[in-house]
């Protein structure tokens, strides 16, 4: 009995720093935000509890559902493209080609460069008057004049996705490369001996064995991309005409721009609900994969 008790105390003592950290950094702000979302908190020191009014307001405003939909579309394309390019990149880096190490190093800059600097760099490249992309298109005679990529809803939407993909691809590539290298070589060798071609081996051996890595990376990327703020804020601030306003931008504008802390908190809670759902899906998927591996 005494042994069990001391073991429990020892375990709690070991867990205490992490528990305190999570309570202070995650639980307290989360609970505080939920409480705030039921108030009319603003710049004024005092505030009143107003029940569900903030939630009613944001969902009856009309454009919030549009913002949610846009966030999902933005996230879907960004994550999908990252996964596809990341997979291609991993295959190329895994191939026995000369200068392989150099290519692996060259993959890293988007991840190494401070994010804000990378985003500003893209902002300049998208600039219609002085930007590289517009300049190249004009030099090759593809366009007659400058094209300001951040000036129109469609192009701005895709420009922000491309920048997010550029920043996110290295991590996906390296993760997929590691997963690819953990596949036993003898499987490929046996298939090659049986006359299986490159694409057949990729489709029937590499891809199925990488499913756990793909699912894990997709869900982690989904969670990070859903809350991606810096890229859109620096490039477009949600414009033009709200075409790049995602939920996180909308929340920031409400809470920190208009100083409607209560309403901003309600919007943040809605984001948290979505992210929680993604996390539940992620943990379930991980558990299933672990159970599969155990069998």
């Amino acid at each position: 009995m005494t042994g069990t008790r001391s073991a429990t105390i020892f375990a709690l003592a070991l867990l205490a720093p992490a528990l305190i950290y999570i309570l202070a950094i995650v639980a307290y702000p989360l609970v505080d935000t939920i409480i705030l979302s039921f108030t009319n908190a603003s710049l004024r020191q005092e505030y009143d509890f107003i029940g569900w009014a903030n939630y009613q307001r944001i969902f009856s405003a009309g454009n919030f559902t549009e913002v949610i939909l846009r966030t999902f579309i933005w996230t879907f394309f960004s994550v999908s493209i990252k996964m596809i390019i990341g997979m291609f990149g991993a295959v190329l880096l895994n191939a026995a080609i000369p200068g392989q190490t150099v290519f692996r190093i060259l993959t890293m800059p988007p991840w190494i460069v401070p994010m804000a600097i990378g985003i500003f760099m893209w902002g300049w490249m998208y600039n219609g008057q002085f930007g590289m992309i517009s300049g190249l298109l004009q030099n090759f005679g593809i366009t007659n004049g400058p094209v300001a990529w951040l000036a129109y809803g469609n192009t701005a939407f895709w420009a922000t996705i491309i920048t997010d993909v550029w920043i996110g691809v290295p991590m996906v590539t390296i993760y997929f490369l590691a997963a690819m290298q953990s596949i036993p070589k003898d499987l490929h060798e046996a298939a090659w001996t049986d006359g299986a071609g490159r694409f057949y081996r990729f489709r029937r051996i590499t891809l199925p064995l990488m499913v756990p890595a793909i699912i894990t990376m997709s869900l982690l990327s989904l969670i990070a991309t859903f809350n991606s703020f810096d890229i859109i804020w620096i490039l477009t601030q949600g414009g033009p005409s709200g075409s790049t306003t995602t939920m996180i931008i909308d929340t920031y504008k409400t809470a920190m721009g208009s100083r409607k802390y209560g309403e901003g908190a309600a919007r943040a809670v809605v984001i948290s609900i979505f992210v929680t759902i993604f996390c539940i899906v992620y943990f379930r998927a991980v558990r299933k994969l672990q159970q599969g591996e155990a069998k």
Partner: protein
Amino acid sequence: MNKTIGLMAVSMLALASATSGTFAQDVKEISFINCGDELTAGYADYFAEWEAANPGYKVAPEVVGWGQCQDKVTTLAAAGTPVALAYVGSRTLKQFALNDLIVPVPMTDEEKAAYYNYVPDTVTFDGTQWGVPVAFSTKALFWNKDLFEAAGLDPETPPATWEEKIAFAKQITENTDAAGYGAVAKTFDNTMHQFLHWVYTNDGSVIDADGNITLNSPQVLAALTALKDIIPYSEEGPTAYEQNEVRAIWLDGGVAMIEASVNAGILADEAGMNWGVAPLPLGPDAKGPGTLLITDALAVFKGTGVEDQAISLAKFITDGQRQWDAEMAQGLTPLRPLHSDELVAEKPYWKPFLDGIEFGGPEPLFTDYIGLQNVMIEMVQSVVTGQAEPQAALEKAAAELEQYK
């Protein structure tokens, strides 16, 4: 020996703590946030002068970059730990006042009369003043004379009306590689400012003194329609550019006309451009030269215990000659016509920036300034990109503004 050294150490510590305690008791600090990259020219001397006249008070200035300044001041106030005195955009004063974060700083009639007309209005809400004006900006039309000449226009004759402005922009776009006009329509605060140039050069307004939204008027409709008409002769994709980016295009010879503050002329000289500056062209209903009057103000925050001293300090450093010297050092439009005649005689390019004040208008004061800004930007962008017709965009914006006033 050791005991003696120990006693001396204890005595010195006691003395040191007593001194700092006495200092803390006797000298009250007036915290002051100064936006910018460095303390405003002359302020260090002004603080020393004011401190000499107000023993027991010490000014503690903190310089905060423009990007973070407004946010820092607001967050400190909202958190209940305000600074005593801070540099803020006058447009935010109404929001601060309604949230009980700042104290009024009433002006006497004599003080009001010393300013250019409308300047006191930029800090006035509910019949009283809520800040001391500290910086003033007005705009005028800059044009590239070489591009005018290349397009077959008289390089010495700038457009005087909207009609001429649009016609000149068309001629330049059609006859040179440059665009005629630098339109500003990015999701950025100065998109609203630039649109207000059109509004205030046609006797329009956004909100009246009684708090009624007056945006949906024939004057503002004409302004929005004129903006729509000039877009085909502007740089490609104006929704991608804010004011300073358009200025960079102008300095690069990519557009012929822009609306900017006096600094554009200094930069144009550095770039070796052949340029001119004139009052903003006028709309059909204009009563005289107009411009947007933007001021920054020193706001005195509540709950610091040194509110009266902060007001005294704010009025001291912005008084007559001191303010004029600071303005000239920074290249700002003067708040008061103290030596304006001499200024124009010495530097004639200042004239259009001062002439426009007479029929200019202030940044509208709204409870939710960001809400106002977002609505105005959305209205401009929807017209510039052709998503909405001016009348429909105006009606929508006017209706939405009701919730932010």
